[in-house]
């Protein structure tokens, strides 16, 4: 997710660019952000992550001109925002806030159609667009269209909030802790849905959170911010996790950075482990021969549909060759190619076999992964990141190749 496929190298066009932006609130000595510069490339998700009060929200509000910078320049799609009419500018940028901010006196449909209505769309077109968007965010239009916000759960409200931000198809989305007010289970699901939505829509997203796990999961790039809006590191999630640029970053990432990095790699990227796979009704002698040939400790037995059933070792074959199914360890740990390594590791260590079977959508075995493969992946992630990490990385101001 975070690392682009090698073939996808293309010039970055910054959709959002901040140059030396400083903003101090009246009555405060320390500016909320000081001399802040970074780019967000078109179609990318950049995450601003940092402790509360570090200026993340201020940065978002500066970009859509809810507040104006004291110094510096903000460029959106090539235009300096200080010259733009603020209301028109904001209609080009979807905005999702933590408190969701659905208008309680308007129906879901009216909420979603807020921006289209301002843009003067016809009623019919607004209705169509609302239904389309509700379906996109996973809400049945006919059931939700005419409800009021208080009749929705927190997760449903948040979905409507996202739909509202997407209503006029803005190229840029600003999301301020959009999943901060829902419970962890719902948050996880909303994150996954936003990721899959983003794979289709390819919006430029600037996402604010204080949760490093969420940042690693959602971001193509992460900007770790310290107080005063100082960017300590702006890099890919893999780089931030494996090569923190400063003491602050490594403290903010916290212990378990390697485990977090596991969520960046998919099972499908792992080197598959050597393992004989045989039918459940195979002759014990054939199984023994296959194990010996592969040089492994055990073999995986699958049923007629190819679904994994159990692991058997040579000793077990000798002891209980008459009742293989009961003697063996059930092959319950399964993963899909699209699962991340964190999940794979979890599955592996939860079974005595210490490995996980990779299955396709039908549940049929397509391979086996084991701990050694995960370790190798972590090593390669670390060495790869060390090549590209350059200490405290500040993005250059001109478009660069990835």
């Amino acid at each position: 997710m975070a690392e682009r496929a090698p073939g996808a190298r293309r010039p970055r066009v910054p959709a959002i660019r901040l140059e030396g932006v400083t903003k101090a609130y009246t009555g405060r000595v320390e500016p909320a952000v000081r001399d802040l510069s970074f780019d967000v490339a078109e179609g990318e998700t950049a995450v601003l992550v940092g402790p509360s009060g570090c200026g993340k929200t201020t940065t978002l509000r500066l970009i859509n001109r809810l507040i104006t910078p004291d110094e510096g320049r903000i460029v959106v799609d090539g235009d300096d925002v200080s010259g733009a009419e603020p209301d028109a500018l904001r209609r080009r940028m979807g905005y999702v806030i933590q408190q969701i901010g659905l208008f309680p006196h308007m129906t879901v449909q009216e909420n979603v159609a807020t921006v289209p209505r301002m843009l003067g769309w016809s009623k019919a077109r607004r209705g169509e667009r609302t239904d389309e968007l509700l379906a996109t965010v996973g809400l049945e239009p006919s059931a939700f269209r005419d409800r009021f916000p208080r009749e929705l759960s927190g997760g449903q409200q948040q979905r409507v909030g996202v739909a509202r931000a997407l209503a006029a198809d803005p190229p840029i989305l600003l999301m301020d802790e959009p999943f901060g007010s829902v419970d962890p289970v719902v948050r996880e699901r909303l994150q996954d849905e936003l990721l899959s939505l983003q794979r289709r829509l390819r919006k430029t997203i600037l996402f604010v959170t204080h949760d490093i796990d969420e940042a690693v999961k959602m971001g193509d790039r992460i900007a770790v911010m310290d107080h005063g809006g100082r960017i300590e590191q702006y890099a890919t999630p893999a780089q931030v996790l494996s090569r923190p640029a400063s003491q602050f970053v490594s403290e903010f990432v916290g212990p378990g950075a390697t485990l977090k990095a596991l969520s960046l790699t998919r099972v499908g990227d792992l080197e598959p482990a050597e393992c004989p796979v045989l039918g459940l009704s195979s002759d014990p002698a054939a199984i023994r021969a296959a194990i010996r040939r592969a040089g492994t400790e055990d073999a995986l037995l699958v049923d007629d549909a190819g679904r994994p059933r159990c692991w058997v070792t040579v000793e077990e074959l000798e002891r209980r060759f008459d009742a293989l199914g009961e003697a063996a360890i059930a092959a319950e740990a399964t993963v899909r190619r699209s699962d991340d390594l964190r999940l794979a590791l979890e599955r592996m260590v939860s079974t005595r076999a210490g490995k996980a079977v990779v299955v396709d959508d039908a549940g049929a075995c397509i391979g086996v992964v084991e701990l050694a493969g995960v370790i190798a992946a972590v090593e390669s992630l670390r060495s790869h990141a060390s090549v590209t990490a350059r200490g405290r990385e500040v993005r250059p101001l001109s478009p660069v190749s990835d």
């Binding site: 969701i100 901010g101 208008f103 006196h105 807020t114 301002m118």
Partner: protein, 239 residues
């Protein structure tokens, strides 16, 4: 049951009206009482009274709601304490004093009474408008502005609709206050049921006095009931 509860007040008020009519009907009225307590005169007084109260309330709503909006806008917010202080003086001053001083300064008649009534009842509407607008969740305004709503659109489509219940509660108070205070209009030749009550007092005719007072009370209760119905109708759905 709900309907009965809703209709309880007008039913009781009608009952009181009926009792009043029967009671007056059984009295032997002398010529002075007859001059006051005939249908045409009473109707004229009632209409005058309603006109005063209604006109004052309309003026108050227009003035105080606009003022309340202005005093909650970012640029002019700091004027709020001063204006609230003036409005407080308006309400704290005894209304009869207001009327009389007003009459001395500006003369007598319908318009002067109106002025006094407005000064006296502006505060509840002004204060409720400001409170109503201030209690709108800041994040809703942030969301509205962030989506590209202009300040005016935010006011008209988000802030005011969400303040309607609180503002209307203030209007209801003002309406009732105005019906009561309008009885004092008689002292500056403003007409209304105050004429009836005052005649009753001055001429020592209790029947006249009671009739005027009870009619005023009935009017206040009925108007309050109507205003409460309007509140229910105008409250935005979804709240």
């Amino acid at each position: 049951m709900a309907l009965l509860r809703r209709l309880a007040l007008p039913l009781i008020v009608s009952g009181v009206g009926l009792v009043l009519a029967v009671w007056v009907g059984t009295q032997e009225l002398d010529s002075i009482e007859q001059r006051q307590l005939n249908g045409a005169t009473l109707l004229e007084k009632i209409v005058e009274h309603l006109e005063l109260a209604a006109a004052a309330s309309v003026v108050v709503v227009v003035l105080a709601v606009s003022l309340g909006i202005v005093l909650t806008r970012p640029g002019t917010r700091r004027l709020a304490p001063a204006v609230i202080a003036v409005a407080n003086v308006g309400q704290a001053t005894p209304s009869i004093g207001f009327l009389v001083v007003g009459a001395i300064v500006a003369g007598i008649g319908f318009d002067r009474v109106l002025l006094a009534l407005v000064a006296y009842s502006a505060l509840p509407v002004l204060r409720n408008t400001m409170v109503g607008l201030q209690q709108v969740d800041r994040s809703l305004i942030e969301a509205a502005r962030g989506l590209g709503m202009s300040p005016t659109a935010t006011l008209l489509r988000v802030e005011l609709p969400l303040s309607v219940p609180v503002i209307l509660a203030g209007v209801r108070t003002a309406l009732v206050v105005n019906v009561g205070t309008a009885t004092l209009a008689t002292f500056v030749d403003g007409g209304g049921l105050g004429d009836t009550i005052n005649s009753g007092i001055r001429l020592g005719r209790d029947t006249v006095l009671v009739t005027g007072a009870v009619l005023t009370a009935m009017m206040a209760l009925l108007l309050d009931w109507v205003a409460r119905g309007a509140e229910d109708l105008l409250r935005p759905r979804g709240l």
